[in-house]
Symmetry: D2
Subunit: 347 residues, 4 copies
């Protein structure tokens, strides 16, 4: 198998270390450089003991030439705003880029400006491909720049895509109630993320204002063929990894649970990373831990004529770094699943 060289800019956050974890076991690529502003010059394994004896890499600075020189593809895992400052020059240098920030996920710079800040590279938005292989596999294969989806949007869009596309549910009155593990908040010193504040407790946050809302709406509006708004509520859950999204939508007809599941299974017939569970089974985040899989379950409620779809992903893997590697595979001409077929670590 041909070997490709890839690098990670911003490798000391949780998505960074997850990228490193996956790439070190990948059979067809070699991770040749990783950067971190905080840990420049330190061995990756001295910062992350999980890599002890597994990697000789040392964090370089974000501007180190090794990050882009003779490299096939670059992952940018820096915060939004910093990403759009950096990506244009990488593309000009002829590199393929997968950006894990929000900077290139929006079609419309005005929408981005409304929820984030002014966009400094708006000319790239039309070119950037939203990196959800289940929706855009062919465009990703041909892309120079892929905007890796957000974790919450991934879990919500995968839940809604089949039913909205098939017209089985109305695009109005959609509710997405998501429960995330704490890695979703990133690796940082913050009292509110300390063990004792999170353990044995749950809370909602950013109700009606979370920045993943317009990202969800952009994609499901395309699927519905009309502008859709959604009520999205994220929750901080006492677990390290995982997002469970419970999505409610009113049915246009009187579908049964089996019919909903049938529509979903058909939609994902060619999607190697989506598993539609049989009727009567509902996903647990534990069953996708450490993997790029999405488990989906659904129930039709004849009392309220509503469909309830539940999706489970690992927010760091499927919701960030695993999906980035799937996109990398597609962009490099590899099988989408290469290096991503480990079985979930359950329990």
């Amino acid at each position: 198998m041909a070997e490709f060289k890839v690098t990670v800019i911003g490798g000391s956050g949780y998505t960074g270390i997850e990228l490193i974890r996956i790439l070190l076991s990948h059979p067809a690529v070699r991770l040749s450089a990783v950067s971190s502003s905080q840990y420049t010059g330190q061995a990756v394994s001295s910062v992350f003991a999980s890599l002890a004896g597994r990697s000789d890499l040392t964090f370089v600075g974000h501007d180190d030439p090794s990050l882009s020189r003779e490299v096939d593809l670059i992952f940018t895992a820096v915060p939004h705003q910093k990403a759009m400052a950096r990506v244009p020059s990488l593309l000009e240098g002829g590199r393929k880029v997968i950006d894990l920030s929000a900077d290139f996920r929006f079609d419309d710079a005005a929408l981005y400006a409304q929820w984030y800040q002014d966009h400094t590279a708006p000319e790239l938005l039309a070119e950037a491909v939203y990196g959800l292989p289940e929706l855009y596999r062919d465009r990703i294969k041909a892309a120079r720049l892929v905007a890796n989806p957000g974790c919450y949007p991934t879990s919500v869009i995968l839940a809604l895509a089949p039913l909205l596309t098939a017209g089985v549910v109305f695009p109005g009155n959609i509710i997405a109630d998501s429960k995330s593990g704490v890695t979703g908040a990133g690796r940082k010193a913050d009292v509110d993320l300390s063990f004792c504040e999170v353990n044995d407790s749950i809370k909602a946050y950013a109700v009606a204002t979370h920045r993943h809302t317009p990202e969800i709406e952009q994609e499901i509006s395309k699927l519905a063929g009309a502008p859709v708004t959604v009520s999205f509520t994220p929750h901080l859950t006492p677990m390290s990894r995982g997002i469970l999204s419970t999505v409610y939508a009113n049915m246009t007809g009187q579908s049964t649970t089996d019919e909903l599941l049938g529509v979903m299974a058909e939609f994902y017939a060619d999607a190697p990373f989506v598993q539609v569970l049989p009727a009567g089974r509902l996903p647990r985040t534990q069953d996708v831990r450490g993997t790029n899989f999405c488990h989906l379950g659904a129930v039709a409620d004849p009392r309220t004529n509503r469909a309830v779809v539940v999706s489970a992903i690992d927010n760091l893997c499927r919701g960030a770094s695993g999906m980035a590697v799937a996109n990398m595979n597609l962009m490099l001409g590899l099988e989408e699943t290469t290096g991503l077929m480990d079985v979930a670590l359950a329990p």
Copy 2:
């Protein structure tokens, strides 16, 4: 302060031990007997080491005469069906009863039969008072039989009561997405409740079929003045105690967050156990751990014209045994808050 004598039938489940915990510190009642079929004859403190040195009680059998003789009030904490078999004779013996099962929560025996089984004491349903002091305080004071509410219904009804009563939200299209700690499933040997199956994972269960649904609907229909259906989804969350309910309802007008909170604060002005948090703050289950308090937060979303109300309770205390003690206080002519004002154990 006068001393009352109370007993607990069914004291070895989680609601039973929680009742014992609260009653042992109560300044105006004395817990004189507790029964358990499983542990008959064993010291309560030998089954629950948290009571070592704190109680000399020994579990008696469910039919032991000490449970009802010269007793002011009896808590029945046995499973549904067993409760309705036992309660009538206790009432005939002249005792006041607070039943923690579902058996006396429904106005309509047919509705009960539809979700549970045939009712064997339907003649008591009209008399039984639904024990939610915030809605039925005066009736509880005069009651002979109180049906202690379910944990999920408590958290959802308290969230919805003010807005529905005030007509601020429509009774249609209501979604209640609830996240419960594992004590809610009871104290039992079950692989699905074992630590490793629950830890670091979350799942939905009983989607569209949970038996607390008709209980929620019964009460909010009365508040709305019309039959209401609700989509209710419970989730098993990796924490021991707590329910967080996130409730979505479409607004009739264009209320602001402050207006929603104002309606809620006014509704609960005289409710000692409900705290409406200021705008910008959302409840955490940790902040009510071990207490009879309910914390409420709300956000008005102008984009979707939807109200999102979040409630947090301790499922074992406010959602079961603490509320039962508040009901006991009212039935015995004590202050509602007696013995229930401990500060939450946070963190």
Copy 3:
């Protein structure tokens, strides 16, 4: 019951909020002021939502006169070094003081200097009483200044005191292996204390160098009547509260488990907060959660002729603030147990 006025200097750490929690329910004292440098001027309930509706206190600055004026007793819950800078003036003002830092726990300023820093109020060391009621109840009653013990030393000393005093174990070759909940590390923004770094993982820290070592050794040396060194290893355990200490000591004779437990039970016959569990039962931290109790278990191992004693406490309550309140009770002439007899929150 007479009412006393007390204050807390340093009320926004975990021991501070735990003091507030306990004192707000205390029947004989009134908490009249609490200080915090970080939150000066903010309502206590706006910082700690667990106090919503439960307290009207506002944090004052550390130098606010309300902290010491017409006050019966002051808790100082500031870090070591800051405590010894403040305590002398409080005593000069005629106040009784319970200091929760390490500053007054040592008899010997040189030993303090060796493990901490130079002592700035060494003249108080002879007067300060080590606030472990099980060892120094009478001296505490008469004390002006009580040095509240450390959490680990409390759990280890209570485990060893009976056997060492009775000469049942040798003072040499003692190992104390302690597992602490994360509140023991304090309330702070620190990546290493963030949920994801701690969850589902355990580690040792400060092996052979933890500052609680000399505190343990000072007290057990007095009990043994000779200088004792101990190997003490603390571990960070994925739980919020609790310390379990497993203590190993070689037996001088061939005691049985029952004999060990007998010695322990006799030693603590008059100690209201120590429970010696029967043979065959071992303590769980959950069973003392939120309480001032210490549960003890023991096993004699004839194969190795070694005694293994296990102690469980709540590090924040028995290991800090609960014990401070017990000391306050003694210093104010109240029953030691006043306000401290709540049953553990288990599960």
Copy 4:
């Protein structure tokens, strides 16, 4: 790479599913059959949703011929006693066997009888190789029957082997204090293993009586060249996976931390799965989660002249199924690390 066929007898416990997890990603073997008495006839993926879409296997009965016919190697993951009833016939059939129970770990049938029960296949004890590659790599390569070590013994023996072998510590007065995740107790319905009984709590169990004690002693006695007894205490820790063992031994000389680490690093110079961390760093179980690695740290304490060695493993992987696969690799002539080099899932 040549392909081997392997099977698992007893595949529905936690070690069974962990074997399946690892073997499904193994590049050189094919898992051709798995048995379970409880789930005979059910799809493996219907019992373990983590395998949804990943395996077409169906559980067969324990006596199904597919388990042994034309198979290169068989893993027996049934409880002790059942293992020794089954293994002899598998060997007679010409199969290589790795047994994950305790039945073949002892050299001496009398010792086994003392801690377990009478041995029914004592004639195999001399042939069976204790499957710890770091000690017996060459013998494992040639073995027909490998007794896979216990999880606790693995963590304790790896901690002690270098220092005992080098004579740096005395064989007397050794204490091994181990903290295990809950998967170590197996997959079963048991109130004491339910989430709420374990969460946010820690306890010791089987003090001085755990059956892994003689297994530890057998192996370290060989290393020390003399009979050694050890005080071993296991603890149930609120985490799913992982064992951290803190091992105390008195030093024969006055070694420094660096010298201890040097001895350990040299001893494991050729061991691909052992990482000796640099001075100042101590292992966390999280950093080996899901892997076959063992992380070791050590501190020399000049005050007590004692060595404290800390080891971290994943009890299910390194402590059971991962080690079994490493043994399989050796027995089949593969590289020891084949299929076992995934990076730990941290956080």
